[in-house]
Symmetry: C2
Subunit: 724 residues, 2 copies
């Protein structure tokens, strides 16, 4: 029976012209629907799902149908018939009470109501007296999300017996931010070039755009900002809006809304006005007309993301107006259409501050309450800039009257870029779980972001995308895990990084526990490894200038262009010690946190060791709790990071044969690069610190391979990710 | 039997983790090995090939083995065993007399000898008393080429009964020229970005590089110039040479040698010298040492391609030396290692000439005989610059003592760029078959290039690549045909464009004659269609400035930067007429051709109508042989071109269902773009010509859609292909 069916299916596939010799190139991401290899389990799935009862043909339900066709044909190695109504045992019923008579008859309204417009139920149920599986939701998009969840259960070999679960997102806006330029370069992109082929749009949309939308929908991402925060007003011209509208049309069935970045000076650059002053009536009218035009072309347009008065971008301060003035002007234009403004808090002025870590807080906190209802302030996870480890941003918990949107960086600008395998979920989780104490204990960053702490209905989280034209989307195969984990945490920040990794590995590679367990462990330890070999003990912003590739602790104001773009500004090393004093005796950045947090960070004893040098100056020969001096601890940690990568190499080498040769080779070669670059970071950093104090490398540690000069003189050309 | 075997194979495939739901995305190019659908034919192939006897394990033979495994498993839907020696009927014997005892025993030496190092024999033979198929060659690479030929026979459903053929290339160097920059932008590239990921090299090479080499080997291409002719000396630094060496290592088993472009001023830029004078002993020593260094890293390095003293590139004329002086200096450095210099004849000086079409001839002809033995002069097919149609370049036939290498442009800089489906083989064939009369009738360009006319052993042909990171390699699926046709014509210029198209369509899409015939006809007519809607009757160089996308007949010296970069320089339209007088009464460019050709082009009556305005000025109201005036003929031809594209649309629409939906959709959308842009060319051009004479569009023709101003004022931003 199995063989006959499988044969029929395989022959059908061959007849469709499918090629039998495709290598595993990673294109399918975690939506990899290979036959369930466990015979009894396969039989149980086939018994549970003999046909699909899916009523309706909206674009979203059609997408759900296509996904089920593809997924079930692959996973169950059978062509499962699609019908409107169940025809016997084993129906998979998909739909909404409004659209499906079968779902309506199940009386799920009360259960569905709290799940909102995006949630869904998965149930093993009895339908017309026969066993069935039900995917029910209030909306078609909820049903599509439920379909992806069901497929995930099968992909990860979970039983459908007694299935009963409900799911709804904890955060409303779950967005990718693409720092993509119109010439297809990607700022901080390490996976090729932009997925948006602007030149061929709107006349041609690549099938890849559909697969992009599928991938996002499968993890619950519901919005995408197409363009770089360092914005180009051209995208707001009619010609380019039509191009964006073509993408929106491809994405729409998958619940993925399009957003754009708004260049604040667009009224001047493409509108022909003499000013972009947000209080100027002509400027306001221009933005209102522009919003009207956008919504005529893209009826479900999401809104604007804005970087203003930061790193040279224009903004309201150019006209002596506040960030709120600027944001509210755009919000006014979007409000009639239901759009939002996401105003970034990553700002710093032309004057070099005493401590850049303080700046966003100092500028934005006074504006709490001043923003329009459809404005979110988008705050990076930490106060500097996506460093390997930062304390949580003090704005979280400091603006209770303003919806604060979290901005994570999925692309690894500061964490090894295109080749280092660093699983970011533990880092994000660390931030989400951090307690701001804004309303007493338990006031976690996650509760600020999901709106539960301050009762905000408008909530959001953004991740700076790591996608590009590389066939596997993210450059490295293991980099895919970060896109996946971002979406999963955006949907439900209660999920654990371990569970997300487990699920991702099963879907992407294999369910073989001899593979999943060790590689999951490897992933979970990879972030700390990166912190150790790059910036241990709370060090930060020590990378090479410009492209940020490799170590550059020696970068000074002259190299960098301004002091707070340099490394020496942040580490403050001298003959005596190392670290940035942010206690009240120093910049008092700790004062931006609520008292319990402030006090913990203000004291060296209670500051987590992983953040020690972020908040404190420590002498080279000071003893740490380990009993090692600071210098010894640094050597220990840098070396531990390198050793951890070597452990990853060994773990991965042992996986040979458990996964396809193509992806195994790719990851292996990337780990080799990572090991070499971990040593580069370790050796260059240690030699540089040593130049301040002259202490020897303690016994038992590898001596650095090169000289300090060899590292300082190294020049890397054509590093990806700079854009143009 | 079929079913059991097929099942086993399909299951094996599934077990390998192959995904059953890969869409046809064009990645496999013409190396698409789908099961032979014709039952009796499949049976005959299976009878003819029951096992493969392939002795030896050189990298090239291993490549041949992998290709056979992949190809036969796909085409025959069976796993064919591999052995050293035949074990019964149906052996496919592959190898060389030197490496295979079985081949040696066949006594093929006399037959193989004339086929040289790259040729091969395919024979149905009797081996040890049993029927066998033999692929024999003098070298392993010849055997690999033979394997690709055999697979092609099966892909195109040709019988193996009585198989007996021999093949050897007519031209020695068959090269792709990549105009790829180190930042991965591609000058005149319309298929994404560069395939070479310089940043990750040499540590990581993508599997795609192997597939690139496979594709090239399958059509006989044996060299690739990795870098842009507008060269960057950085690629000659040790660090980048190591990167190039990594690519060379991937390509080597496939007989594909790596070449680089040499920036003439490299001794100054990366060598620290004060001069790049080719007669300076220090400069000569620097290049010798550089060549030695390159060959230490890349033992089979092919040589240098050089663009010097052209469009701002440095060159020997900067030091009052000749092109020969420059080329010979590099040749001297490469000669000990067997490398060649390919010195481009596409030059023009800082002074604007009376007729740029004359310039290469005037500069290079006097140098005939002055070049070292390992120098080829690389000449574009026509005297201007890859226009939709040009007469053959007058240098062909004018430098009998110098090997002239043909430079074709596969990428469609002037023929619709990324989206127009234009099959270029007819254009190339037209040039190859043109008779230079250099040594009397029959002195074709092909015979100049293949060395037979002037007894040159060193011969070459280059094609400017149309490949990029787009999944289907070339942007458009039909664009793949031009890469394929270039390789096939480079191997054997006697092949017909029709046969090449037939073969390519069968391999790439389907053997269904209801598809192959009409699409082949469509391809064969597509070049004339493009000429008609862009530059009919010998018009040339009328494109928009800079990116060359779309019509720009109005571009003048001020727009373009210099007169001979403008359009008006070439069309010379005024109230009276149109065209460039290149007769003796004009620039006398015709005088650069041998007398029979010169006389034919000098007379309006004997000039082919397709080249009329290239050589002659014609009054708007002059009657042409058609009975139409020049103006009427232009309207007729431009419109005919648009109509031809509409015919292509209809032809392709009728193919729905005969090929996979994915590729059908892509081609359809591209044809829609082409139809719109053909109208753009027609309308903008006609309105512009009309502005000189005010004559009406004749009855029966569509009026232009826009106004002349609307076309002139159009600005296209972010057009691909400019590089940086």
């Amino acid at each position: 029976m199995l063989n006959r069916r499988l044969l029929a299916w395989l022959l059908a596939f061959a007849a469709l012209g499918g090629s039998p010799v495709q290598a595993e190139d990673g294109y399918e991401l975690w939506l990899r629907y290979v036959p369930v290899a466990d015979g009894p389990l396969l039989a149980s799935y086939r018994q549970a799902i003999t046909h699909v009862a899916l009523e309706g043909d909206s674009p979203t339900l059609t997408a759900a149908r296509h996904e089920l066709e593809r997924g079930l044909r692959g996973l169950l190695a059978a062509d499962i018939p699609f019908v409107d109504r169940p025809t016997g045992a084993g129906a998979l019923v998909v739909g909404t009470p409004a659209g499906s008579a079968t779902v309506r008859a199940l009386g799920l309204t009360a259960d569905l109501e709290p799940l909102g417009p995006e949630g869904y139920l998965l149930r093993a149920a009895t339908v017309e007296g026969r066993p069935a599986i039900v995917v029910a939701a209030n909306t078609d998009i909820g049903a599509l999300y439920g379909v992806f969840h069901l497929l995930r259960l099968i992909q990860t070999h979970q039983t459908l017996d007694g299935l009963s679960l409900a799911s709804a997102p904890r955060i409303g806006l779950r967005l990718l931010n693409h720092w993509d330029n119109l010439d297809r370069t990607v700022e901080r992109g390490y996976a090729g070039f932009s997925l948006w082929d602007w030149h061929k749009l709107p006349d041609y949309t690549s099938p890849r755009c559909t697969d992009y939308a599928r991938a996002n929908a499968s993890i619950g991402i519901n919005g995408t900002v197409l363009t770089n925060v360092n914005a180009n007003a051209t995208v707001l011209t009619e010609r380019y809006l039509r191009k964006a509208a073509a993408l929106a049309g491809v994405f729409r069935p998958y619940g993925l809304r399009v957003y754009l970045t708004a260049r604040f000076s667009a009224p001047i650059e493409i509108g022909g006005l003499g000013t972009a002053d947000p209080l100027d009536p002509g400027v306001r009218a221009w933005w209102r007309a522009k919003a009207d035009e956008i919504y005529r072309l893209i009826p479900d347009f999401g809104g604007f993301l804005v970087k203003a008065n930061s790193e040279g971008q224009p903004g309201p301060q150019d006209y002596a107006r506040s960030h709120a003035d600027g944001a509210n002007m755009l919000a006014e234009a979007l409000a009639p259409h239901g759009g939002v403004v996401m105003w970034r808090a990553f700002v710093y002025s032309h004057e070099v501050p005493d401590d850049r870590a303080r700046q966003a807080y100092d500028e934005f906190r006074p504006l709490d309450g001043a923003f329009a209802d459809n404005v979110l302030v988008q705050v990076k996870n930490g106060p500097i800039d996506f460093q390997p480890r930062e304390p949580f941003h003090p704005l979280f918990g400091a603006m209770p009257s303003t919806p604060l949107m979290m901005e994570f960086q999925i692309t690894q600008e500061y964490l090894g870029q295109g080749t280092h395998s660093v699983y970011l979920a533990p880092m994000w989780k660390e931030v989400l779980e951090a307690d701001t104490h804004a309303r007493g204990p338990g006031s976690t960053v996650a509760r600020v972001v999901d709106g539960s702490l301050d009762a905000h209905a408008l909530t959001g989280v953004a991740g700076v995308a790591n996608t590009g034209t590389d066939r596997n989307w993210t450059g490295g195969h293991l980099h895919q895990a970060n896109w996946h984990a971002f979406g999963r945490l955006a949907w439900d920040h209660e999920l654990s990084p371990a569970d997300i990794a487990d699920e991702w590995l099963r879907m992407t590679f294999t369910n073989d526990p001899a593979f999943v367990r060790p590689v999951q462990d490897m992933m979970l330890a990879s972030h700390q490894a990166c912190v150790d070999y790059m910036t241990p003990l709370g060090l930060h912003h020590l990378m090479a200038v410009g492209h940020h590739y490799g170590p550059g602790p020696w970068v000074d104001a002259q190299d960098a262009g301004r002091p707070d773009w340099s490394s020496v500004y942040y580490h403050r090393a001298d003959a005596h010690g190392l670290g940035f004093d942010r206690t009240p005796a120093g910049s008092d950045a700790v004062g931006q946190y609520h008292p319990p947090v402030r006090d913990r960070f203000a004291s060296r004893e209670t500051t987590p060791e992983d953040l020690l040098l972020w908040f404190h100056r420590v002498r080279w020969d000071d003893r740490l709790p380990s009993g090692r001096t600071l210098w010894e601890e640094l050597v220990h940690r840098y070396s531990r990071g390198v050793e951890a990568v070597r452990g990853m190499q060994r773990t991965w080498a042992a996986m040979e044969g458990k996964v396809d040769a193509e992806r195994h080779r790719d990851v292996r070669l990337f780990l080799d690069i990572q090991e070499r670059e971990a040593r580069w970071w370790r050796d260059a950093s240690l030699l540089y610190w040593q130049s301040f104090h002259g202490l020897p490398i303690p016994d038992g540690f590898e001596p650095p391979e090169g000289t300090l000069d060899s590292y300082r003189n190294r020049r890397d050309l054509y590093v990806p990710g700079l854009g143009v």
